[in-house]
């Protein structure tokens, strides 16, 4: 059963140095507050897994938390490069960063295989793509009926999944809605799971019978962190802060300005700093 705890306790309890950690959220519901807490607690030697290592992983990488990155698209969505990610790969700053690179389809399938407790995933993919030449974790499997050769990759089985969700009920069941990405799979594929939520409610009320709900017993810790996805968004709560994504380009381009920003906005803050972003969105219907 999930325990309600502070984000500080959840990170202290669930994430250790050297862990394989998947912070997921596909554009929507990215667990920024949790990422900041990991930085504040100075976790080291992490293997970070994420389809789209955008700002949240740029920050973790730039602060030296990661030894390795498993990913499929590393950019600032709609804006351009991730400068800390590039600086780590191109210049080994602040430390070298190993990478294991896949395609989106491969990562999505590998999470799915992890949730399904399979050792590997398969797909019709990587045809004519050079990534299979540089990643030894891209192999093949042959259909025992047709002889067709398919691409294969190991299932993703992280030590810890970290996601942000809309709300929890008092039992610690968690509701997601909207763009749910690979979060459900990431939680089910992981040994432990931290879920930050916008709020706790007595009941989810009348939901669709097929609502995306993670039962309490699939989760280790639930932490109430309103606004905790900012500058990502929480559908029905607040919109994506596209202007921050644009601003991040300048903040992160330079090592000093990056460190200054991180000191002021992360190291000297706590999870409660996110609450200011938790206002209802103008452009988004409440669900």
């Amino acid at each position: 059963m999930a325990e309600f705890m502070s984000l500080r306790d959840a990170v202290a309890h669930c994430i250790g140095d050297g862990d394989r950690v998947a912070m997921e959220g596909f554009t929507h519901l990215i667990p920024h507050a949790a990422g900041h807490e990991v930085i504040r607690q100075q976790r080291k030697h992490l293997t970070l897994v994420r389809m789209t290592p955008d700002i949240i992983y740029d920050q973790l990488i730039g602060m030296g938390c990661a030894d390795k990155l498993v990913f499929s698209w590393g950019g600032n969505p709609g804006v351009g490069s991730l400068h800390r990610f590039r600086d780590a790969i191109e210049n080994k700053w602040p430390q070298p960063l190993d990478i294991e690179e896949h395609s989106h389809a491969a990562m999505a399938n590998a999470y799915e295989a992890g949730a399904a407790n399979l050792p590997f995933a398969m797909m019709r993919g990587y045809l004519g793509a050079d990534l299979s030449l540089v990643n030894p974790n891209i192999r093949s499997v042959t259909c025992p009926f047709t002889g067709e050769v398919l691409a294969a990759m190991p299932a993703i089985r992280p030590d810890v999944a970290v996601i942000h969700a809309l709300r929890a009920d008092r039992e610690g069941n968690v509701l997601l809605e909207g763009i749910t990405g690979v979060q459900k799979e990431a939680v089910l594929a992981s040994k432990r799971a931290i879920v930050t939520v916008e709020e706790v409610v007595d009941t989810f009320g009348p939901t669709n019978r097929n609502a995306v709900i993670l039962p309490s017993w699939t989760i280790t810790a639930v932490c109430v962190v309103p606004g905790g996805a900012h500058p990502s968004y929480a559908q029905g709560y607040y919109s994506r802060d596209n202007s921050f994504y644009i601003a991040w380009d300048a903040i992160s381009r330079d090592r000093d300005s990056f460190l200054a920003w991180m000191t002021r906005h992360v190291l000297e803050q706590g999870p409660e700093a996110f609450a200011v972003h938790a206002r209802p969105a103008k452009a988004s219907k409440l669900s």
């Binding site: 596909f26 554009t27 929507h28 389809m51 789209t52 990913f71 499929s72 698209w73 590393g74 950019g75 969505p77 709609g78 804006v79 490069s81 991730l82 990610f85 590039r86 790969i89 191109e90 690179e101 395609s103 989106h104 389809a105 999505a108 399938n109 999470y111 799915e112 797909m123 019709r124 993919g125 990587y126 045809l127 004519g128 793509a129 050079d130 990534l131 540089v134 909207g178 763009i179 749910t180 990405g181 690979v182 459900k184 799979e185 995306v212 968004y233 559908q235 919109s239 994506r240 802060d241 596209n242 202007s243 921050f244 994504y245 644009i246 969105a281 452009a283 988004s284 219907k285």
Partner: protein, 260 residues
């Protein structure tokens, strides 16, 4: 349709030419940026029932403003429904249900292979690009691929350091040789011209030149000796309608993205 106009930028011509390539009955897997602009322009002009799918899971979405990211809330709010990302890649893309995949890239070669991974060696890159994302499987699983990219010698190169997603293959024969049943890149739309694969060699060849663009301009912004199809036409100028709808959409978008 209103009368044609010459008062437009090369990027506008590119977007409009790309939009025109889409059909009302297409199911389109949309990349962010220029592909997204072209697909939504098509939807707001001649193809009102086109189905737009973004890899974030949003199916049949009808955004009012262009998304900055592949998963802006606007896409979900205006979608028929939204599925998980594994389902998107398994049932919808790999499932063979997409008629047109719309891609851009950092670099392209004459056989419409794309590189969005690295410039230089993979292990010691000069420039580390974002990586493939959905492109490798979009390239092979959609029934055909449209590519939209502004021409430059840096982007249109003689030889790619890395093939992120296969077009027709390193020498134009690999795709066919592998027995892939989908068509691959059937159209490359730039700010200067429209290209289609040569029926024999699969080399992308100019089939239409945008108004006001000369052959030498095209040739000067490419890293290979350009080929022309047997018949080359002039791309019709943007109509007033097309330009107005495009500009309105981009004004709405700029305004929306400045809000936090």
């Amino acid at each position: 349709m209103s009368a044609a106009t010459a008062n437009h930028t090369p990027t506008e011509m590119m977007t409009i030419a790309a939009a025109r390539a889409l059909r009302n009955e297409d199911v389109c897997f949309v990349g962010i940026g220029a592909p997204s602009a072209a697909c939504n322009l098509a939807r707001l002009t001649h193809a009102p029932n086109i189905t737009l799918i973004y890899e974030s899971g949003t199916i049949a979405t009808r955004p009012t403003v262009l998304p900055l990211s592949i998963g802006d809330g606007e896409l979900c709010d205006t979608a028929l429904t939204t599925v998980s990302v594994p389902e998107m890649f398994r049932y919808w893309l790999q499932g063979g249900r997409i008629s047109v995949g719309f891609l851009g890239g950092a670099q392209i070669d004459r056989f419409a292979n794309l590189n969005t991974t690295v410039v230089g060696a993979y292990d010691a890159p000069k420039v580390r690009l974002p990586g493939g994302g959905g492109a490798p499987e979009i390239a092979s699983n959609c029934q055909e691929i449209f590519i939209i990219m502004a021409q430059s010698k840096r982007a249109f190169v003689d030889r790619l350091d890395f093939i992120t997603s296969m077009g027709h293959g390193r020498t134009g024969v690999e795709r066919r040789a592998m027995g892939i049943k989908t068509k691959g890149p059937t159209r490359l739309i730039t700010d200067m011209a429209i290209y289609a694969p040569d029926p024999e060699t699969c080399e992308m060849s100019v089939v239409s030149i945008h108004p006001g663009i000369s052959r030498s301009q095209i040739e000067d912004s490419l890293g290979w000796p350009v080929r022309y199809a047997a018949e080359v036409v002039e791309t019709p100028s943007p109509t007033h309608d097309e330009l107005e709808v495009l500009r309105d959409m981009q004004a709405r978008t700029r305004q929306a993205h400045q809000q936090s």
